[in-house]
Symmetry: C2
């Protein structure tokens, strides 16, 4: 049943050598890895205006220089990540770059920060997309949480199917969104050029504005730079590209940077020229589209693709999280299971962990995850800063050809990223302080896990100078509950292994004991029977006590003690509730509390 459903949803298992076929070409990679970055065009410009409007509509012209600042930051980041791609062709996430160049702890801060961030990406993007849908169909409003969960489950299933197949489905909406915005910007600019838009809707650039402050401008810049979250996704995902992976990744990164720059500038400019004021009830993009087209087909097309790409932005998390988890798990900072490829060759455990965590966040915040955005942005800029500082150290240390140019590029990136990070802490401390608590905790957990794995490794290593004690013989204890075929079976098996077999009967009533002992003598005269009386109707307590005694004696002669427990295998699974699962309990208890081998002898009911 379960395995059939699994097949249906995620497809037949793939052989390990089919891995190559699952890799991404550039067109698909652009779609699958840039939806997060591109979708932020839908809210980035708005974030700038929301800060400026606190001074007044006259301040809106500042969005132009601020956007220029964001574009400079974008350029620095893109060039910087392009260098990282070639320097770390096996996937240079912030974790790997920081770890290799700055040390383990900066690496873990970057890695931990991103790990949490990808979960936030999924929760925030899916919630935002769901909001867009429920705004259009208010009747669905009370179902926000279930709808968001369905989307997360859908994305999780797609990703469990494997990267290429999901890319095919996910590519269309991304390109439709890009096309829709290109048309919007093109038509908008054409209307401005042909004079269809009155020029007095906006104040001209450079108009003095009362009340503007550097603090406010920095806050607006920090808000606007939240549009850059997601640009690191490509450099993390190089192993998913077709060969030559670094070249293909680099070209994809440049294409994404170009698209992002055009869309961002276009929207900021149109918003400025139309003099658009941010509103609670209507997004800036919606207002621009309304001004340009009115509420016709194109308007709804733009709104629809925007909603869609917001949901798909979550997919960036699905591409990046499992790969980052593999890197952390290879270094033993998180559980080993994240390195295992599933049936469809994706890192299923990472995908499932991400999906489940995002669903938990959505439920906890009842689908209103918007106020997590600043937290999420600062969680991106910390690893940005660390990975680029790492690159600076790398260039200084290795001094390859043309290292000074490379150094300047990364230094610029590092400086701007650091500035943005600090701005977030300065201007939005009330929203981003949890980072200062979570990051140290995560880093400590990483270290605890690593310490455990290392201790285990030491304990498992064979010591050639220390030979283990030879086992001289075996004692087998068989707890019996009556005179049945199951007991006959177990006793038979035990006597085939050793002649030191002890049957143990736990009685609750004194009279029982004598009757049972007599019956036993007639039935199995060659097997020793020990009866134990239980005052408290517990089987485990007297049994454990008895095992301790036997083990003590056996230990003196280097004998190994084994407890043989029969297990009913019922024909239908509902039959299991009809049998006291005491064998399971006894087995678990003895295994974890005593140093005995537990042998389970199955007894299969035929009816």
């Amino acid at each position: 049943m379960f395995s059939y459903l699994k097949r249906l949803l995620i497809g037949r298992p793939l052989k390990s050598n089919e891995l190559g076929e699952q890799k991404l070409n550039k067109t698909k990679a652009l779609a699958i890895l840039s939806s997060d970055a591109l979708s932020s065009v839908a809210y980035g410009p708005e974030q700038i205006l929301i800060v400026l409007v606190t001074v007044g509509a006259a301040a809106f012209w500042y969005s132009i220089p601020i956007a220029a600042g964001v574009l400079i930051l974008l350029t620095a980041l893109i060039l910087s990540y392009r260098q990282i791609i070639f320097a770390y062709p096996h996937g240079g996430g912030a974790y790997v770059v920081s770890r290799d160049n700055l040390g383990v702890n900066p690496g873990l801060i970057a890695g931990g920060s991103l790990l949490v961030d990808y979960i936030l990406t999924v929760a925030v993007s899916v919630s935002a997309g769901t909001d867009a849908i429920t705004s259009a169909f208010p009747a669905l409003h009370s179902y926000t949480v279930p709808i968001a969960i369905v989307f997360v489950l859908f994305l999780t299933t797609l990703n469990l199917r494997g990267v290429t197949e999901s890319a095919s489905i996910l590519a269309y909406p991304v390109y439709l969104f890009v096309a829709a915005l290109f048309i919007l910007i093109g038509v908008g600019l054409y209307q401005i050029y042909t004079g269809h838009v009155p020029a007095d809707l906006h104040t001209s650039v450079g108009t003095p504005v009362a009340g503007i402050s550097l603090f406010l401008l920095l806050k607006a810049f920090a808000s606007g730079s939240s549009a850059l979250t997601g640009v690191e996704a490509i450099s993390n995902a190089i192993p998913n590209f077709k060969d030559p992976a670094p070249n293909n990744a680099s070209k994809t990164l440049m294409a994404m940077g170009g698209l992002l720059a055009i869309l961002f500038s276009g929207i900021v400019y149109l918003a400025y020229y139309y003099g658009i004021t941010p509103s609670v009830t209507e997004t800036v993009v919606s207002q621009i589209a309304d001004e340009t087209f009115g509420r016709n087909f194109m308007y709804y097309f733009i709104q629809g693709t925007t909603a869609l790409i917001l949901i798909l932005a979550a997919n960036t998390g699905y591409s990046a999280f499992p790969l980052l988890a593999v890197n952390l798990a290879k270094d033993k900072f998180i559980p080993r299971m994240f390195t295992i490829r599933g049936d469809r060759l994706g890192y299923s455990n990472g995908i499932i962990t991400l999906g489940v965590s995002a669903i938990i966040l959505i439920i906890l915040f009842k689908g209103q995850t918007e106020h997590l955005i600043p937290l999420y942005a600062v969680g991106v800029f910390i690893p940005f800063t660390l990975s680029q500082s790492g690159m600076i150290v790398k260039w200084v240390r290795e001094k390859p050809k043309g290292w000074v140019t490379k150094l300047i590029i990364n230094a610029t990136g590092a400086l701007i990223s650091l500035t943005v990070t600090l701005m977030f802490f300065l201007t939005k401390f009330t929203q981003v302080w949890p980072v200062l608590i979570f990051l140290p905790i995560i880093v400590i957990i990483f270290h605890k896990i690593k310490t455990h794995y290392e201790l285990v490794g030491q304990q498992l290593r064979i010591n050639p100078n220390h030979m283990p004690k030879k086992i001289e013989g075996n004692v087998i204890i068989v707890p019996v509950a009556g005179i049945t075929q199951v007991v006959e079976n177990s006793i038979n098996f035990a006597t085939s292994l050793t002649d030191q077999v002890i049957a143990v009967y736990v009685s609750f009533e004194r009279e029982d004991e004598r009757v049972f002992e007599e019956k036993w003598k007639k039935w199995q005269p060659n097997v020793r029977l020990v009866t134990l009386h239980s005052h408290y109707r517990s089987i485990i307590q007297p049994l454990t006590k008895f095992i301790d005694t036997v083990q003590h004696k056996a230990g003196e002669n280097n004998y190994q003690v084994t407890v043989l427990i029969p297990q009913f295998i019922t024909k239908k699974s509902w039959h299991n509730i009809l049998h006291n699962q005491s064998s399971l309990l006894i087995r678990a208890y003895l295994l974890f509390k005593r140093d005995v081998v537990i042998a389970t002898v199955p007894y299969r009911f035929k009816k």
Copy 2:
């Protein structure tokens, strides 16, 4: 941790021979077993008036003859159950009486009906009590469900502690309630006698009323007889009484019947004399108390004890359900685990099942379980009818001294119960139809369970003519994942049992295999190693295939195959998530799918 909490809540475990001390004396038994019946005084009279008010206030005098009818029914039931107590001194619930005299299926209908009914008792009574509390403190209204759940948990814990101890706590509120109602009725009657109550508040008995019909009167009678739910509790619980149990139980039953009759008649009479009209916002008892005392201390005392006894009425379910479950389980109609006494000698599994089921009902119905009352009443009168019909058959069959009187008593009881049952179906079919679906399903499930146990019994029985095949030798398969101390341990143990040991290595990469084989030859030259390649990165599939091959060969020579699986025992329990629990998976899979013995060798980490 868990066991400490358990001690704290339910107390130290008791020895089996401490059972006698847990038995009930009459005073405590009356409190613990009659709270359900007595509490129904709080709503029974009201149910009658609710039906009569549909015709008009003039019809209220009919409550007097209807109450007389209910009293006759009560007398018949009490006398009838008194006879059952002496005829079935080991606990004559409707199940036992019907089964013994009418046959298995009538017995199962009675038993299944009561089993479900006790769950309803708990859910309905606790919800009603919670309603009384939230009516007094409206601020708590949105917490109805959690409050009700806390009460169920409280009652469950009390009952797990054991009957006597819970009786001590539960006795006070029951006696306080009885005292409160006695004072109310006494003061009320005194005021009427001394002429403080105007005589024109009510129409006199016998006044002709337009629109009254037999159907309506029958409906009012059926509604009023819901006050009799719970009178069977004592006859079910005879084993809980101190010796001589039947005598003590009989006296307790009579006392309960007397109290119930006095309280019921008193409330009906005062309601009639005061001319009280049932209202949605205030209960009839509250109105009477208000008329008699005004809103002084006595009023709140009566309301408080009423709320309390409604919650305690649930406790009747806790006394009766586990005992009925024991009877059904002894006859193998429900899982055997219901016959096991817990640490405190109560039938813990029954108590826990009841508590959990009631909580599920409360959550499903969001604490508004009132419309389950008719369902619950009809579920009581079906077993009433069956058990008394059973007694008729018994008297006819056995013809003991004075059997004609006994026959008449039970026949009257059976006839009235049957009439009430039919009235419920006639007048409230839309609310009671689910009984007609659930009862057949429950009876079928009972039979399925019994069939399973009988088949298992047959299969377990030793057949003296058929000796099992002798096991000629043992093959032990040890799956190995590397060259570690754990593997060394397992191989050591395996070779101490047999010389037919096969180590199996599952590789995901072809190159791995050769390297591993060479290392193995140097390390364990005497143990045969088989390497298997897994295309799909699954360990279970190739391993299972290999085991099948070995088992086929071994079977030909009567060899038994054992698979040895090492199990890490980590030092701290959180460490477990850091290890792939593949050993658990493999063990479960092989045990249920293949006929091999699974031996688990613990390997304990010291750090």
